[in-house]
């Protein structure tokens, strides 16, 4: 009796858990299809993400340019200071 219950429980577990275990990520999209308008409900939540993405790219470029400018200034300052010391020797 116990054995039968145990077997039933194990079989049920195997049957119900297999779809979850076999689950895979859905396939990636193969092509983009253009449409004229976007659903109204879709516009608001997506807009901040879009703006953030474009703003991040701009900010990243600006910050990188600033780091190059800062490093270049530091090198030029050191060169000037060193060049002033050299003729004295």
């Amino acid at each position: 009796m116990h054995l039968r219950r145990l077997l039933t429980a194990l079989t049920s577990f195997a049957l119900f858990s297999s779809p979850a275990l076999a689950g895979q990520a859905p396939a990636g999209q193969g092509a983009f299809v253009p449409v004229d308008s976007v659903p109204l409900a879709d516009q608001l939540p997506a807009a901040p993400l879009l703006v953030t993405a474009y703003a991040f790219v701009w900010i990243a470029v600006m910050v990188y340019l600033w780091t190059i400018w800062r490093r270049l200034n530091k090198v030029e300052d050191e060169m000037r200071a060193l060049a002033q010391k050299l003729p004295r020797r």
Partner: protein, 218 residues
Amino acid sequence: MRKAFGPLAALTGLMLVGAPLMVARAPYESTMGLVQKIFYFHVPSWFAMFTAIGICGVASLIHLFKTSPRADRIAEAAAEIAVLFGLMGLVTGPLWGRKAWGVWWQWDAKLTIALLLEMTFISGILVRKYGGPGSDKLAAAVGIFGLAVVPFVYEAVNIWRTIHPLTSVVPTLPATMGGPFWFCVATFMLLLVVLLMLRVNLGKRQAALDELYLAYED
């Protein structure tokens, strides 16, 4: 090359301003809607990163086997710029994924290898900064291995089953989407060239400073 820098930088700035306007006029994608427009900056940033890695890899090979300071400077500059463009891709991607997939991040093959590629080049920069004497050769080796990883990042969606859009998306873009997309690719490539010229110049000045220090010590 120096004469070309000014006009090139101005053109890049204009194209960077114009790119969002072109993207705004592109049609919406049928399933993802507005958020798909992140694609126009997301994919070009990866293209620019792969190009920077290609430059870094070739320059690293030259420096590793022929010990060329010029090639080393180019490799150093390209590696740094690869990290910048990789960061753009890694930030814009999750912003897209949050809306399209419902999650910020998914540990699937494409995303995971892309993250590892970014970390590879960050490690190259750290090796140069803290590696001491001979770190340029170690960084060159990192650059070459980074280059070897690029095909896996690009082909990951075709080799493994992932939720990321496939590589077939770009060649099948309709003209209304393809125009803005290739404009953005050109913009990012120009940006890569401009940043590379600036960063290589910085490397040159640093090398001149090192020579000056040596002269001072002598």
